[in-house]
């Protein structure tokens, strides 16, 4: 089916380039009889139309873990803190907070002018209920492990403790919320801006059960409220008049769920969408609109890497891994993908502390051949047949084919590409990863911890099976280090072990979000976590 969709896109591109006169004539003839249906100008001041791409799997912020649901949730809810565009954490429902006991205790002081959409005030008890609910095993919270640093959170979620009140998160009074951590966690404050830690109304959830997220039932405290949800088609948001930062300028937000990229872009070109992003913006269209005034590019905290299963030969030998790493020219990838991707110089992206241009191995074919020689495979001779696993996606195929060609050219080794359907790929990678695999990581919060913890011993997402005690210790110590400079240095050292000394992975590139806006659209904010902030947005004639 993917093939069909790809062909559709190519066919549409072909049509855009070479219009068929015959078909035009036929349709013009038909069209003469249908001019009454001709669509009118579609720009509506104060209304923003965007494309989510797909149905949000859930608007229950304890259950969902996907970005589409997040796009809606972050615009209808507000948490203790919020991310600025530069990813700094600033106050939101919490007007201030104290960090006590060497970072083991946080006390949040809440504003007293924050209200739910039904008029009731937002209190610390709403946070207490929410944090207990996400850890409750019965909820099945996808992000429950986010709060693993909170006292007893892991034990409650794992079922060892059944008393939810034992969780180290308590309302001290209506406007004071206390969190106790097992150990200091320098990144903890970022978690309080994530949707999984937003407050929730106990009475609403208990009254409506699984249907509490439907528009007639849900109560929220963010800039917009959920007005309508036509499943698999459209969500409509309306401004929350009681929003504590002030009413948003927009009167309505329409979030469509158009899966087909070329259709979504056709809607944009027809003025039926006010802005588009990667979901609706093909590489071909990025090329066409690169110089448009409404085009912007936002680097994302999304890294792609080539992983080695270090338990499988020949990648149990670090010289082979280093050889492969140095034989890949990463500057090729942006040329292939054409969305402004950045070649990786380290696993930690440059926006975060600990990133360094010298952490990863540089492209150096002669040094790569020397490493391969040292590993016992001079000029690639006797190198065993290995497979590179990748999911069935067009952009990924381009990357792995390039890696295959570069390794052949620079090292003289042949690798076999193994393409699998998405869920089969995930199952294979989880159960028994082949010697080479392509993977990526999307940061949940803007801190190096989310990237570096990934490759610690025993981490469920460490598909490389690589284990290094020095690396583990550095990452563990850095997580609790409150001195910013010391912490960055620890991560830099760990990153060097991961990508250079041991070469357990080859970081390849960092993704970007490509956005194209209509001239009448203003105030939209995007950040590197791929959060689309709509509360300052507007669509107005003046801007047109």
């Amino acid at each position: 089916m993917n093939l069909e969709i790809t062909i559709t896109r190519h066919f549409l591109d072909f049509l855009k380039q070479t219009s068929s006169i015959v078909l035009s004539a036929i349709l013009l003839f038909v069209g003469l009889g249908l001019t009454g249906c001709s669509p009118k100008a579609r720009f509506v001041p104060g209304e923003l139309r965007m494309n989510l791409g797909t149905e949000p799997p859930s608007l229950d912020w304890h259950i969902t873990t996907d970005g589409t649901s997040g796009d809606v949730i972050v615009n209808i809810m507000a948490g203790l803190t919020q991310y600025q565009q530069d990813l700094k954490c600033i106050p939101s429902v919490a007007k201030s907070w104290d960090v006590l006991d060497d970072g083991r205790r946080y006390v949040f002081h809440l504003r007293d002018d924050v209200f739910w959409t039904d008029g009731k005030p937002v209190t610390a008890y709403d946070f207490e209920y929410a944090w207990r609910r996400i850890e409750d095993p019965k909820t099945g919270g996808g992000y429950a492990d986010f709060l693993n640093d909170v006292e007893n959170a892991q034990e409650i979620n794992g079922g060892q403790i059944t008393d939810l009140t034992k969780l180290g998160a308590h309302a001290l009074d209506e406007h004071t919320f206390e969190v106790r951590l097992k150990k200091p966690a320098a990144y903890f404050i970022y978690l309080t801006a994530h949707w999984s830690t937003y407050p929730m109304r106990k009475d609403v959830v208990e009254k409506h059960g699984d249907r509490w997220t439907e528009p007639d039932n849900i109560v929220t405290n963010g800039p917009f409220k959920l007005a309508k949800w036509q499943h698999d088609y459209k969500i409509e948001l309306e401004p929350n008049e009681k929003f504590f930062e002030g009413r948003p300028k927009l009167n309505k937000v329409k979030m469509f769920m158009v899966s087909e990229q070329s259709t979504a872009f056709a809607l944009f070109e027809n003025d039926e969408l006010d802005y588009v992003d990667n979901r609706s913006f093909s590489t071909h269209d990025v090329d066409r609109y690169r110089n448009d005034a409404g085009y912007i590019r936002v680097p994302l905290l999304q890294g792609t890497y080539l992983g080695f299963n270090v338990l499988k030969k020949p990648f149990d030998n670090k010289h082979v891994r280093r050889a492969v790493s140095m034989a890949i020219d990463k500057t090729v990838f942006p040329k292939l993908l054409r969305r402004g991707e950045r070649p990786s110089t380290s696993w930690i992206p440059e926006e975060l502390p600990g990133s360094s241009e010298t952490s990863a191995l540089k492209f150096n074919p002669s040094a790569a051949r020397a490493e391969l020689d040292a590993a016992g495979f001079p000029e690639g001779k006797n190198f065993p047949s290995v497979q590179l696993l990748y999911p069935n996606r067009e952009d990924t195929r381009l990357i792995v084919e390039s890696i295959q060609a570069q390794l052949k050219k620079n090292l003289g080794i042949s690798i076999e590409l193994l393409n699998q359907e998405w869920k089969v790929y995930l199952a294979t990678r989880k159960k028994d990863p082949p010697p080479l695999f392509r993977a990526n990581w999307i940061a949940d919060y803007p801190d190096p911890e989310t990237y570096m913890n990934l490759f610690t011993t025993g981490n469920g997402n460490n598909h490389t099976r690589w284990s290094n005690s020095t690396y583990d210790r550095l990452v563990q110590n850095a997580a609790g280090e409150l001195n910013v400079d010391k912490r960055a240095e620890m991560y830099r050292q760990a990153d060097t072990i991961l990508c250079k000394d041991e070469a357990a992975i080859v970081p390849t590139f960092v993704s970007t979000q490509n956005i194209l806006m209509k001239p009448w659209t203003s105030g939209l904010k995007f950040n590197a976590l791929d959060i689309h902030i709509l509360k300052h947005a507007n669509t107005a004639e003046a801007a047109k």
Binding site: M1, I63, T139, A144, D232, L267, L426, K430
Partner: protein, 306 residues
């Protein structure tokens, strides 16, 4: 007639049971599970989710739990869309597919049958060649090519119809035409072949020699008999059209059921896969029964039995 319908219903029960059982087993054999994602969830969370949806129980227990729920009309829960039941999902999507499918079917019949009859009656003439050229094009061109072409010319270039979405009656035209293209072409070919066969019959010659006009002969006698094979294929065509088309719904962003035939499998949304399969099977059984009943009206000599 009543006994025929009752018999058909009784036959349908074991057929549906076999379909449900096979699908139940097959979806669980496929690698990958509903909770597999790029970010592997910790074991505790996976265990909590599996317990929530009874996926931690032995397979035979899950099977009997499912059949028990199914017997009560409960199609289960969606693992992907956590706050919706499968009944909710089908309840929202099926009416849309039904509406689009009926429109597409109407267009397919209204164009395909007359076009085929016209070609058959005028065999070897320019009309025949033109009709068959259109029919061949309709069969050969896949719907994603037709859809993309129509969007570009009618939606973007000429701006006479909406590009996509599902808002007003005007939004239905392009998807319905795209959906109807293939079936219309197929019906035209089938009708032409059938008309040609009937025209060779002795009784047609007799009717003409007795002075009945060509038009009356074709409309009153030939077409009626020629429709038997056409009606036969209308059963599966109807079932296919009203359960939605993935491609058409995908291209035009229509909130119908067709997409779930594909996405439910790629999401390993077990209960939703079961529901789409069962609904398609039920519709196929119903439409085939209607087709069998229609035979009797087209040709009273035909026996309707189980």
């Amino acid at each position: 007639m009543l006994s025929f319908i009752v018999k058909r219903i009784l036959y349908a029960i074991p057929v549906l049971w076999i379909v449900a059982s096979l699908t139940f087993l097959l979806v669980r054999v496929v690698p990958g599970g509903p909770f597999d994602s790029d970010r592997n969830l910790p074991k505790e969370i996976i265990a909590n989710l599996e317990a929530k949806y009874n996926l931690n129980k032995p397979l035979h227990e899950q099977y009997f739990l499912y059949l028990g729920r199914l017997a009560k009309g409960d199609l289960g829960v969606s693992y992907k869309y956590a706050n919706r039941t499968v009944n909710d999902i089908i309840g929202d999507a099926f009416p849309v597919s039904l509406q689009l499918g009926c429109l597409g079917l109407m267009i397919a019949i209204c164009i395909g049958v007359p076009l085929g009859a016209l070609a058959g009656v005028n065999r070897g003439t320019l009309i025949d060649y033109l009709a068959m050229f259109m029919s061949t094009a309709g069969i050969s061109l896949p719907s994603f090519v037709i859809g993309a072409g129509l969007i570009f010319f009618a939606g973007i270039s000429l701006k006479i119809l909406p590009v996509a979405l599902w808002e007003t009656p005007a939004h239905m035209i392009l998807p319905a035409v795209t959906l109807a293209f293939g079936p219309a072409a197929y019906l035209a070919r089938l009708t032409r072949g059938s008309v040609l066969e009937i025209l060779e019959k002795d009784w047609v010659r007799t009717a003409r020699s007795k002075g009945l006009s060509k038009f009356s002969t074709v409309v009153k006698h030939v077409l009626r008999n020629a429709l038997v094979p056409v009606v036969t294929v209308l059963g599966p065509i109807t079932a296919t059209l009203i359960t939605g088309s993935f491609v058409v719904e995908y291209i035009y962003a229509i909130p119908g059921m067709g997409r779930f035939f594909i996405t439910a499998v790629s999401n390993r949304d077990y209960d939703l896969i079961m529901a789409t399969t069962l609904i398609f099977s039920i519709l196929l059984l119903i439409t085939n029964t209607i087709v069998d009943i229609t035979y009797k009206f087209l040709d009273p000599r035909m026996e309707v039995d189980g």
